[in-house]
Symmetry: C2
């Protein structure tokens, strides 16, 4: 059997890029074997994630809504154009702070994945992002939370679930401490695994469609 070329992944970022780093590390550690990070796109020119990408020798691009005259449509047009030009097969949202339109998600159906810091369907959907997810979980008083990697469709956090991992809530936990533990114990583990899982699927489908 001929060795299949690796799936070309683009990681979309806005900030520190810890989830990007988890993917970079997983490629180095061969947890991810069937994919390569071809491109990192940031919608924020000063995102530290860009430095992480450069340090790992990964091509970067800055595409902002501001430079698209504030138009989400133009912004997404530019994103789509770049992703298609680079023949990207899998898009990973890694702390990407922009809600993508249905047109965008339909263009890359089952080819966009996102990590959310809760066990969906708990504490997800519109308004639940970042630290607020953990604040809501602590306010509710849950003893178990976690993270979810899911396909992205037009419904916020509504796409098919790929992987989930639970994390116990400790006594005296703050939203900040919980956020850190959910990242370390769940997000950074399941996001790379999901990249590998979906990449294998993409390769398998390539064979079928030829």
């Amino acid at each position: 059997m001929k060795k299949q070329r690796k799936v070309k992944v683009a990681v979309l970022v806005s900030g520190g890029g810890t989830n990007l780093q988890a993917i970079i590390d997983a490629v180095a550690a061969k947890v991810i074997k069937n994919a390569e990070i071809s491109l990192v796109i940031s919608n924020n020119a000063s995102a530290y994630a860009l430095t992480r990408a450069e340090n790992a020798g990964i091509k970067t691009a800055i595409i902002t809504k501001k430079e698209s005259d504030g138009s989400q449509e133009l912004f997404e047009d530019r994103l789509i154009e770049r992703l298609k030009n680079d023949e990207i097969e899998l898009i990973v949202l890694a702390g990407f702070m922009s809600i993508l339109s249905e047109r965008f998600t339909k263009t890359f159906e089952r080819r966009i994945i996102n990590v959310h810091p809760s066990l969906i369907p708990s504490f997800c959907g519109k308004g639940f992002y970042g630290l607020h997810v953990h604040e809501a979980a602590l306010a509710y008083g849950v003893k178990v939370t976690g993270a979810t990697v899911h396909f992205v469709n037009e419904i916020p956090d509504g796409g098919e679930i790929i992987l989930q991992k639970s994390v116990s809530v400790k006594k005296g936990e703050t939203p900040e401490s919980l956020q850190q533990r959910v990242m370390r114990q769940a997000e950074w583990i399941i996001l790379p695994r999901a990249v590998e899982l979906v990449s294998k699927e993409i390769i398998a489908n390539r064979k079928v469609s030829k």
Copy 2:
């Protein structure tokens, strides 16, 4: 320090009584040290749970809505009377198939606990009971589910969470197989632990209020 008398627990059942058995076994294994099962009440005269109670030498009572002229109010009056007469301090709902009124739950505030076969707030509330919880979880496609022990208040599955435990969903899982694993790996573990935890709290509060 004088040894405190154990907390008197009543377990309310309707069916097979596997959760009752888990509590009986936990008392025998000294997982529960600060409580004793004083009474098992069934709202169904033919519940196998009654046999389990008798086999363990526990006092039983049958109180049905039918014998209360079909009136929920009369039925609950009789339950309350019996629970008070027996000086019950903690009520455990273990597969008890009757929704209790706010009057009932307020009478025993923070003294009624229930086990629900999901990680609340997922798949809980009105309409989510028994096998349907697991059907809903599988239909949603979650990869992690579990069980929750919570205090019972007037909102279905809305009371404060005491303990939760996660269970991974396996490939090819059916609602029945998932129900079995959630019972074995979560419900039967956290329900006895919660009985012990709440009983300790009740004993501590006794000391304070004297």
